[in-house]
Amino acid sequence: MTVMTVIDLRNVVYQYPDEKRPVLGGIDLCVSGTGLTALVGPNGSGKTTLGKMMAGILKPDSGSVRINGRDASEMSLGEIGQQVGYLFQEPDRQLFAPTVQEELAFVSRVRGAAEEDIAGRVGNMLDRFHLSHLRERFPFSLSRGEKQRLVLAAILIQCPRFLILDEPTTALDVRRKAELAENLSDLDSEGVGMLVISHDHEFATRRASRVIELRGGAVHADTRY
């Protein structure tokens, strides 16, 4: 079995402009394109920053980030987005369209896919994420759990092979967390690689094949299961 590295970080250092010390102090990591990797650590350890670095949202002050072999700093966000999906903590920040259906369809349409093809894929995603009864609804009128499912569906409909989730369990109650865990489990079985960033240790490590713990901007522990 070959373990394909999807994201390769070499000696990544990053400091926010108005802070005194770097939040990441020289990280070396290879993240596999399959399996669920958990990134845990206390608040302020740099988890979210590292996640953003992996999606090319932030560029390292020094060191390099490679996505599928290519230097992330030479790729546009659009190009990265075709390979790596990113789920922000707040679903409200990533809902754009006037209806649930359009939310799933508009990117494919802009990229030139055929209408029948789009309709088919949208139908599949709606069923899969239990959103069919909401297809004509205004996305912002959905509950938080429904919004999160919608965003997840809208990212996955573009078939990225890797997904980064930033604190996906925030404000989710026990039932919604269980649903999310199931969705992630299904994705794992389909071969979609994932990185889950969470301060909810129990949730993140439950189905993880690898747990990376960050502390003070450095890798404190790295365990494979």
Partner: protein, 234 residues
């Protein structure tokens, strides 16, 4: 000793909806009592908080039936300003409760609105910050503080009006473990100080300080039996 917060047969329906979000809610909270209400997302917890605090029907609309009495006055007979000196509510998101560049200004806001004398306002700021243990933060910018610290300031800015009843509407859900502990310790202090407190959360672990636990589920409120994991089963 009469209850500071008394709810009789409360029900609420969203405007235009026939079926109620919840109904038949009864609650009594006396001085020095903490009641915890737990419920899943969408169960109506925040709407319940709005009804308890008078936001419904005074600021938000909808069909509210039944009576909510805060210190013996029905919320329907009061104005938000009159309620403010009896009941204070802390919300989930600190960033939409804090809007001034200095902690002191934030805590002064309520008393200023109620036309208290400057000396009295000053005294209340000192007292409120002392209660939450943030005296040293008086001149700091609230937006630079951690989540837990921000919620303490939000609480202080409500305490400066000296309400006997306090409602916490999922006030802990955006905080980390350290932040939650601080607020819970503080709620313990406020309880010993004789205030009536209602806390609403979607995670029962956040309600350790509650003397009574209620469950809001599928439209009714009942005693919570402590079995929370059954909701995780799909």
């Amino acid at each position: 000793m009469s209850a500071l917060l008394c709810v009789r047969d409360l029900s609420y329906s969203f405007p235009g909806k026939d079926s109620p979000l919840f109904s038949g809610v009864n609650l009594t909270v006396g001085a020095g009592e903490v009641v915890g209400i737990v419920g899943l997302s969408g169960s109506g917890k925040t709407t319940l908080c709005h009804c308890l605090s008078g936001i419904i029907p005074l600021i938000r609309t909808g069909d509210m039936q039944g009576v909510v009495r805060v210190m013996d006055r029905s919320t329907r007979d009061l104005t938000p300003a009159r309620i403010a000196t009896r009941l204070g509510i802390v919300f989930q998101n600190p960033d939409t409760q804090l809007f001034f560049p200095r902690v002191e200004d934030e805590v002064a806001f309520g008393p200023e609105n109620l036309c208290l004398a400057p000396e009295e306002i000053d005294r209340r700021i000192t007292a409120a910050l002392k209660t939450v243990g943030m005296e040293g933060f008086r001149h700091r910018n609230p937006h630079r503080l951690s989540g837990g610290e921000k919620q303490m300031i939000a609480l202080a800015s409500v305490l400066s009006l000296d309400p006997r009843v306090l409602i916490f509407d999922e006030a802990l859900s955006q905080l980390d473990a350290a932040g939650r502990k601080r607020i819970l310790d503080l709620i313990g202090d406020l309880k010993r100080d004789g205030r009536a407190i209602v806390m609403v959360e979607h995670n029962p672990d956040n309600l350790v300080v509650a003397g009574q636990m209620m469950l809001l589920h599928e439209g009714t409120m009942s005693k919570f039996d402590g079995q929370w994991q059954r909701f995780a089963a799909l």
